[in-house]
Chain length 162, copies 4
């Protein structure tokens, strides 16, 4: 079993550049996290976008969807900004026959206190055991794209209670 | 769904005490990890042992087994030293009707570069989605107690290839 | 001997706010750094500004100068953004009879890999042993306001070679 | 000005080896710390011993003294275990014409919360500005070998109050 990891940017990959006094999306952090965790699963990481998820266009989502659909691997992780992760997850529901887990983080992976490593641990493990479908692994839970919302005030993903 | 987390010591909880120039098992690290990850799952952490797993006796394993069996929750995580984690996992196979995930780490959670946060992320997520049974969540994989060994040289858990 | 620490913002105090997808100056980091280092010197930290140093006005510099001049303590540290640290240092040259050490960092103190702790270690130690005057403690060196420049490309402070 | 850094082991360089379930003195941490701080001073690091300072013999102290005396550089840092740092400092008092700063840490440099980076920042800066003599840079203070003790209970270096 091999896991394909597509990175698209978002907070998880944000770096800080003192020269410009600003943050920007940097290189994918997922690879470093997996190396430090010394994982014994096969995986490959491919950076397809480096964007804040608020800046993702319909074309960007089309690109993500095409990449996920056309990869020969049926276990796919997509790292993504949190603001529109749910929107992209719903787009991916039209891909069939693959287990797709989206994740990201509320704090950049480069921070001392970040949820990035925990969330990637969640995603890497759950993508191997969940049946085909689209899932969001955030805040220690596995959500489906229709039962989740980002609670901006509490800065976390939560189940939608109906 | 509520997750019960029993901590038993091991490398994951090792602290360093300069006063004595030595390491010792300290307070459970799992709680701090879950707070920093801002998880939205219910859980409670109970420290039942603070031992290097090489020092665990048959009585200690009996205690762990009894605690896991008698807890009213059917989703249970046991953090444990890596050297005899597999032995304890096999003991726990006689508990029925519960999903039990064991985890730990190769480097203390207090280290800058530790696999502890990743592994706890794996355990917390997988314990919610696996069917009843005993599992080991280490190095990005979910193992069963009969198909895993600790590769001491490479410092990781691996599948037994028959 | 007591050390007065004024914080004015800058990269060292930058936090990341996922809710707004941006970095902003947060609470002063110096206090946490000193507590973790378990220092045995008396000090007090006072936040007087929370600004990127590119945004500091003449009035802000006047405020910093007045605060430094009027504090009863003659050992003073000023944490400050790096872009205009040298400009503020030159303003402070008119304060007499005090040892004033400015410092800051190229990466936020909240980052895993930040120069903040090292630089505060430099500043706290040197402010106790330098004779009255204004100094900049950055990149492992003690500079005076007239012999230093920020090398933006190499992201470090350097001696001006004449 | 060039700084010579001799490393001798001690807590600052302690690593954790899961294979043996123990801590041992590992490679010198000072070099990594200086690289991350992006220092603009010339320095070279030489590992001469890798020992817990409680295990240092008279011969080991003779070796340290000879190394410090014979190095052509007159700015010298010695990283050292905390338990007998003061004893070695007193041995070094017989070296003349050099500024010698000893430092170390109460927690291994590999820990998330360690005083190692702060202390090395202290040492690197103070060694450049102190006049010839032997000093101990610990807990944010510069001590001389005759006015300091290690308070084992509070886990810190303190001035001897007479």
């Amino acid at each position: 079993m091999k896991i394909k990891i597509f990175t698209t940017g978002g907070t998880i990959d944000k770096m800080y550049f003192d020269q410009k006094s600003e943050y920007q999306v940097g290189d994918p952090q997922a690879k470093g996290v997996l190396e430090k965790a010394n994982v014994v699963v096969d995986y490959e990481v491919e950076s397809i976008l480096k964007k804040d998820s608020l800046d993702l266009t319909d074309l960007d989502r089309e690109l993500i969807r095409n990449k996920v659909e056309s990869t020969p691997f049926d276990r796919v992780i997509v790292t993504h900004g949190t603001d529109t992760m749910i929107k992209t997850a719903r787009e991916l529901e039209s891909v069939s026959g693959k287990t797709i887990v989206m994740t990201g983080s509320m704090y950049p992976a480069q921070f001392k206190e970040s949820d990035a490593v925990f969330n990637i641990g969640s995603a890497v493990t759950s993508v191997q055991i969940l049946k085909p479908g689209v899932y969001i692994a955030m805040n220690g839970r596995i959500f489906t794209p229709r039962n989740v919302r980002k609670n901006v005030e509490l800065n976390r993903f939560e189940e939608i209670v109906i």
